[in-house]
Symmetry: C3
Subunit: 167 residues, 3 copies
């Protein structure tokens, strides 16, 4: 990549939003992208588990400058009725990208089959890639680390490296 | 799990519905959940391969008490034009759960690559999990057995174990 | 299969459509299905990366006689904003078939994890199966070869082998 990727991290958690818990997953993700991808973290925020709230935030981040190359979410990907991060994400992405999640889960599977309990999705709005990660710090970190090698290439394509779409 | 899971089994088959064949897959699934999950099977039924018929039954089961923790369907997940169980399921679920199907197929793959010919989906209505299994007895049994270890945890989360969503 | 499968190949590429590049992926796919599946290639065409254009072509091919058993597309499955072959395909298929793509990517993964960057989908219109393959010649060929063993069975089911849906 010619210039460092820009990243935004959205923590989705009722308890963190209400001050009943401290967000450790969001900061951990910021550390990883800074160290491993040399990224600039340009936005972080915490929202409750409300579909419209999450969708609004993602759409705003992906469309108002300075917009990030990559948005990572953490939380709200489980099976419980209030876990609606995937639904909010599907509501706003233009092009879904299930393969990134499948690669992530395939690689996490050896450590824990429970990786497949996460319902996270991935997809793009214009040139911004959105990836849902689990809410637990360990789950979020392991899931992100599982696809770190492929993210620079994905971001390059989204940025529109002119030689790429030309086959 | 504090109390045994409640399960309902829906057999989707024109031929079984018309009395031209005997349903062996449904009873086999009932046996497995009783023995392996200590479950109470509270409902079983057979419907033809009609999308509205299947969707109505799933929605009724998932919303009228006593509703099951888990609904298993068998049949109608293939490639033929009348195989519409996945479409009926997608019509009624609120939150889809592709990871459960991927785990199932990944584990069945060693025995038979044809597991990937099943188009089955998984997802939840409120606190009821719905999983589509293949129609053949062998396919249904092998597919269910492939995720038996993870089902108790999935059901616990759906029931709302208070510590869980709190991260 | 009693009679050879009929196949159509759609190349999706702005540059090939505009004459700025020569389509090598489409002809390579034709060669493979002729040699490996003994198929009749009954239609080939090249369209630009325009969602409505792609969708119209797929729908026309799948519904006007002589219609093919299988339509393969190559191109437009990446992450770039103009990569919309999956969206065009989802717009016209009646029954999606994610398992075929998952089998393909699982088997290609050993050679290249980048197989998971393809967003290709699979699904059916009536009795015609549509599968999206990557645009690069190597990616298209490796992806098709990864599922060659299962395609005859899938086509048999779609053709309506009378014993099949009867369980």
């Amino acid at each position: 990549m010619n210039r460092p990727p820009t990243v935004a991290v959205l923590t989705v958690s009722d308890r963190c939003f209400n001050g009943e818990a401290t967000d450790t997953s969001g900061p951990a993700l910021c550390d990883i992208v800074r160290v491993e991808l040399n990224a600039d973290v340009i936005k972080t925020h915490c929202v409750p588990d409300e579909q419209e709230h999450i969708a609004d935030e993602l759409l705003h981040w992906a469309t108002v400058e300075p917009r990030p190359d990559l948005i990572l979410t953490t939380g709200g990907t489980g099976l419980a009725p209030r876990d609606v991060t995937p639904e909010a994400t599907k509501q706003v992405i233009q092009r879904d990208h299930p393969g990134l999640i499948q690669l992530m889960q395939l690689r996490c599977y050896e450590k824990t089959p429970r990786t497949f309990l996460s319902r996270g999705v991935a997809g793009a709005i214009d040139r911004t890639l959105i990836i849902n990660l689990p809410g637990s710090k360990r789950g979020a970190v392991e899931s992100l680390e599982a696809i770190l090698d492929i993210l620079p290439h994905a971001i390059d394509i989204l940025r529109g490296d002119p030689g790429d779409h030309a086959r």
